[in-house]
């Protein structure tokens, strides 16, 4: 049986098609999930893609976090279901408290779209195991609410437990504390990051690099070996 990876569409989600395509290119079976769904359709993992769910009104991710499918995903994640939150998806994960901290307006107050360099700090998570710790990758970044914040104790704890999964390299594009671009939960099944691996899976489009493909091959590898 092929590996089924679900991609959730909330009202206002934008990068769902790209995430589905990335899943397909990596060799898994993409499955569309709708925010009102009351079942996860037997997927083996879930991607919460980027975009502006509910227009990012109130706070990014704040409204979608309460959708029916999130109840299933929150429960699933606690039992080990692999979940990747990209950009808006990361914001949904922090709003759901599946990941600690919060995302604030960029320190320069502008939307920023650029090719961003990151370092993979933790290559043991479900979504990074096809990388090697210390790998530097370049993938698109595009957001206006991308400044990762948490209190000092939480940050220290994240560092101590190796849960900072990605750090910005060269330039911190938004004032994220400790250059944090992405984090993981304790178990390593839930990962969130602001930049967009799904936009970097084909040599021709986007930035012309395929550095993001590893996220999707990682989960495939993890699920197949499990």
């Amino acid at each position: 049986m092929s590996t089924r990876i679900g991609v959730v569409t909330f009202p206002g989600t934008l990068d769902d098609r790209d995430a589905l395509r990335a899943v397909r290119i990596a060799g898994a079976e993409p499955v569309s999930l709708w925010h009102r769904d009351k079942s996860l359709k037997q997927v083996d993992a879930v991607v919460l893609p980027g975009g502006f769910s509910y227009g990012d009104y109130l706070r990014a991710g704040a409204i979608s976090r309460f959708s029916p499918i999130m109840e299933l995903i929150i429960a699933g994640a606690k039992e080990g279901l692999p979940v990747l939150g990209i950009c808006n998806g990361f914001q949904v994960l922090t709003e759901s408290h599946l990941l600690p901290g919060a995302m604030l307006r960029n320190n320069h107050l502008h939307f920023i779209c650029r090719d961003q360099k990151l370092r993979v700090e933790n290559a043991n998570t479900a979504w990074t195991c096809d990388y090697t710790a210390g790998d530097e990758i370049s993938i698109p970044l595009k957001n206006i609410d991308g400044r990762y914040t948490a209190d000092e104790r939480t940050l220290d704890q994240l560092e101590a437990e190796g849960r900072v999964a990605f750090r910005y390299v060269g330039m911190n594009p938004n004032g994220s504390l400790r250059d944090i671009a992405g984090i993981t939960n304790e178990a390593g099944n839930v990962v969130g990051l602001m930049p967009h691996p799904e936009h970097a899976v084909e040599p021709l489009v986007g930035t012309g690099r395929t550095d993001g493909l590893g996220f999707f091959t990682s989960i495939l590898k993890r699920l197949i070996s499990a």
Partner: protein, 765 residues
């Protein structure tokens, strides 16, 4: 307040109406009375006044725009021409592409963020209404002087608005323009372009047919947006009918500012596309300027029957709105569809799925009238064509301004030029560090260019290029260009230069230009000088399109871009769409491979009228713009396309404002590689400028491009150019980490980058 019904109007023929306040001329009002055989009701007056406005009726421009149809080149690609929401072009493999550029200039000056945001929203709905999925946007912009305090208010707001709306919709922004000139100080230009893709069989048109079919309004609730003027109808006049002297103050003045809700628009797009997929609509129209007045009258006018609308069923955001105001409201994010009765339920289900409010507000009738009711009483009874398609047409007087000769006589050739290598070097740095020539990344980094995952080329490339079929690699390229300085010197040539540049930009990516859209930004049509500029620009564009074989498929006119008597430079903005069969063949601008040869294609003449150099170094505008040779443009395009298809060129960059040196700097910086350049000296190869480094580097002769040719392809490439008769001059090689012009100067890439990329951030913070 008594409701001004049709019956009431018949009974009270002498009631004075505020037609003048609504912008109607006495003879226009007379015509309305004549059409109706009685005085109009307030609601009818509201509809006529807004639909007969310049913006909706094109009453001053129509006689000139006609040429786009009359002189249209024979083209098999055109599926839908001018007159619909947007033109549609066949791009092969069963795909059709629709694209259009529109202005939102005045609203963006009043409220930059919302004005620009709703400009994007409006053009996206136009594209959607054709049946297409919107796939990309572009934004040609013009602002006042870069260092003027008001520019710091307008520009960041406009850019944030375009980004805020477009990013939230999930449409990649793949290009545009940012131009500064003090002539735009009080009249910034915010033009927005959208591209959409569909299959041929999915094309939809705005018409209401089939007696008994339902008219459904869906999307946002209707509020008091953008109806400033018409509130007079709701307030003084009828309040005080027969007693106009009482002048009793009334309801709060309605906001003339429209506020956009991109989230609502995103839902509207997805919802509408799902409705199209299930083939549930007979006709569809977006609501833009003139709101329901426009949508209902245009749908009815283009269809076969009449239409009956129950206006009180329209969902409102503000319950106090009068029927006149509801008809005029320009609330955003609304669409109007004509649906067969058996499909209404499914239509509603899809709307519910997307949280979109939808309401049946009327139906198609077998008559030929547009009839509108308010709580059962008839307030509108008009022949829809007279509202929508048979508005007034003016032959405005026009005359070549007397200052035109003086301006053209003020030749840029006399301006002092850099004489030494050091002076040239300094001039290059000032040029690329000037606001118009510097990197626009400060702007474009605020736009999402990756979303949808099909962006092959975007800023700072010559044209945006989008893949439309993942399997076959079919793609389309779009570029927009316009140079108000050229057009001021000669509007006929200026319009052709805009066309030629956009055409060239598309070809430079390897795509074959197919069709044109345009946004004509001018001063007051009541000023014969501005009207002359407009007439000349239209004639130039129509002639140019005929010569290039690229029909105009649609566009937009924006008049009254002037403050007092002072108009902006005439600014025709031209968008060209091209097709590429395989996007892997696209040509980027970057010089990426050391050792590749740099060729200059075309001829360089001494042409500095309206040039960037004359502006930056001398703040001068005079003389004639560069000459246009459209046959040469076609030849250049064929070479660029063939070079890309057959793998003979690895980079190409068109030459336009700033000339050769500007293009070289951009290609070097994009690829991160330097270039060693030798100024050509054989006259036959490179035109009259041979041997003169200043002219070679800074002249703005049209019909040129630089390309990077792999050594292995050199012979094949030069043979092709030779056989086709296109001058191709080898001017250097990609090499090192500096731009070096032999015998003149060397500028390290780092220094170029700092100046080129630092300029706008320094100005805008």
């Amino acid at each position: 307040m008594t409701l001004d019904t049709v019956k009431h109007a018949e009974q009270t023929p002498d009631t004075p109406l505020p037609w003048a306040e609504l912008g109607l001329k006495p003879d226009e009002y007379e015509r309305i009375v004549e059409i109706l055989g009685r005085r109009p009701t307030g609601a009818e007056l509201a509809m006529y006044s807004v639909m007969w406005s310049e913006h909706c009726s094109y009453k001053s421009s129509k006689v000139h725009l006609k040429q786009f149809g009359e002189k249209a080149p024979q083209s098999d690609a055109m599926l839908v021409g001018i007159g619909e929401n947007a033109g549609v072009v066949d791009v092969g493999q069963g795909y059709a592409v629709t694209f259009k550029v529109e202005s939102h200039n005045h609203p963006s000056y009043v409220e930059p963020y919302q004005g620009a945001a709703t400009g994007v929203g409006g053009i996206v709905r136009d594209i959607l209404a054709m049946g297409a999925r919107p796939v990309a946007v572009m934004d040609p912009l013009r602002f006042g002087a870069a260092d003027h305090p008001d520019t710091k208010r307008v520009l960041p707001g406009v850019v944030a608005g375009i980004g805020g709306y477009g990013n939230c919709l999930g449409l990649p922004n793949i290009g545009g323009e940012v131009v500064f000139d003090s002539c735009y100080q009080g009249n910034p230009l915010v033009n927005a372009l959208c591209v959409g893709v569909m299959k041929h069989e999915d094309i939809h048109l705005a018409k209401a047919s089939g007696t008994g079919n339902k008219v459904i309004l869906y999307g946002a609730r209707t509020g008091g947006d953008g109806i400033g003027g018409v509130s007079v109808l709701a307030s003084e006049t009828f309040e005080a009918a027969g007693d106009s002297a009482s002048g009793r103050g009334k309801t709060a003045k309605r906001p003339a500012v429209q506020v956009g809700d991109p989230f609502q628009e995103k839902l509207l797009i997805e919802c509408t596309l799902e409705i199209f997929r299930e083939k549930l609509v007979v006709g569809i129209q977006d609501l833009g300027g003139a709101g329901l007045s426009c949508a209902t009258s245009e749908l009815a006018s283009a269809g076969s029957g009449g239409m009956r609308v129950e206006l009180d069923t329209v969902p409102l955001r503000d319950a106090t709105l009068s029927p006149e105001e509801i008809l005029m409201s320009e609330s955003q994010e609304r669409m109007c569809a004509v649906v067969e009765p058996q499909h209404v339920n499914r239509f509603m289900e899809i709307c519910e799925k997307w949280d979109v409010i939808a309401t049946v507000i009327g139906e198609v009738t077998d008559g030929d009238r547009l009839e509108i009711f308010w709580h059962g009483e008839q307030i509108v009874d008009v022949p829809p064509r007279t509202v929508a398609h048979e508005g007034p047409v003016y032959q405005r007087p026009y005359a070549r301004p007397e200052w035109q000769d003086t301006l053209q006589a003020d030749d840029a050739a006399k301006l002092p030029r850099p004489a030494s290598g050091d002076e040239l070097r300094a001039a290059v740095l000032r040029l690329i560090g000037s606001p118009n020539q510097a990197s626009k990344a400060w702007v474009t980094d605020q736009y999402d260019r990756f979303v949808l995952g099909n962006t092959v080329l975007s800023q700072p490339e010559d044209a945006g290029l989008i893949r439309i079929d993942e399997e076959s690699g079919l793609g389309v390229a779009v570029a927009t260009d316009g140079n108000g300085r050229y057009a001021k010197l000669d509007p006929y040539t200026g319009a052709q230069l805009a066309l030629a540049e956009a055409y060239r930009n598309v070809a430079a990516t390897g795509a074959r230009p197919l069709a044109v859209t345009d946004c004509l930004n001018f001063g007051s049509p009541e000023d014969p000088s501005a009207m002359w500029q407009f007439a000349e620009a239209c004639r130039g564009l129509a002639d140019g399109c005929l010569a290039l074989g690229t029909p105009v498929t649609g566009g937009n006119v924006s008049f009254y871009n002037q403050t007092g008597d002072v108009a902006i430079h005439p600014t025709p903005v031209v968008g060209v769409l091209g097709v590429i069969d395989d996007v892997t063949r696209r040509t980027p601008i970057a010089f990426a491979e050391e050792g590749q040869l740099i060729y200059l294609l075309g001829e360089t003449r001494e042409e500095f009228g309206g040039s960037a150099w004359s502006q930056v170094e001398h703040d001068h505008l005079g003389g004639l713009p560069p000459a246009v040779d459209l046959e040469r443009e076609k030849l250049l395009a064929e070479i660029l396309i063939a070079g890309s298809r057959d793998g003979m060129i690895d980079a190409a960059h068109d030459l336009s404002d700033g000339g050769l040196v500007q293009a070289l700097v951009e290609s070097c910086l994009k690829g991160g590689k330097g270039a060693r350049i030798v100024i050509p000296d054989t006259a036959s190869d490179s035109g009259s400028a041979a041997g003169d480094p200043f002219v070679t580097l800074f002249s703005e002769s049209a019909g040129r491009a630089v390309v990077a040719v792999p050594r292995s392809e050199e012979l094949r490439f030069t043979d092709m150019c030779g056989a086709r008769g296109l001058p191709a001059t080898r001017i250097g090689v990609i090499d090192g980490d500096a731009l070096a012009v032999q015998g003149e100067f060397t500028i390290p890439l780092d220094e170029l980058r700092e100046v080129f990329e630092g300029a706008l951030p320094a100005l805008l913070g």
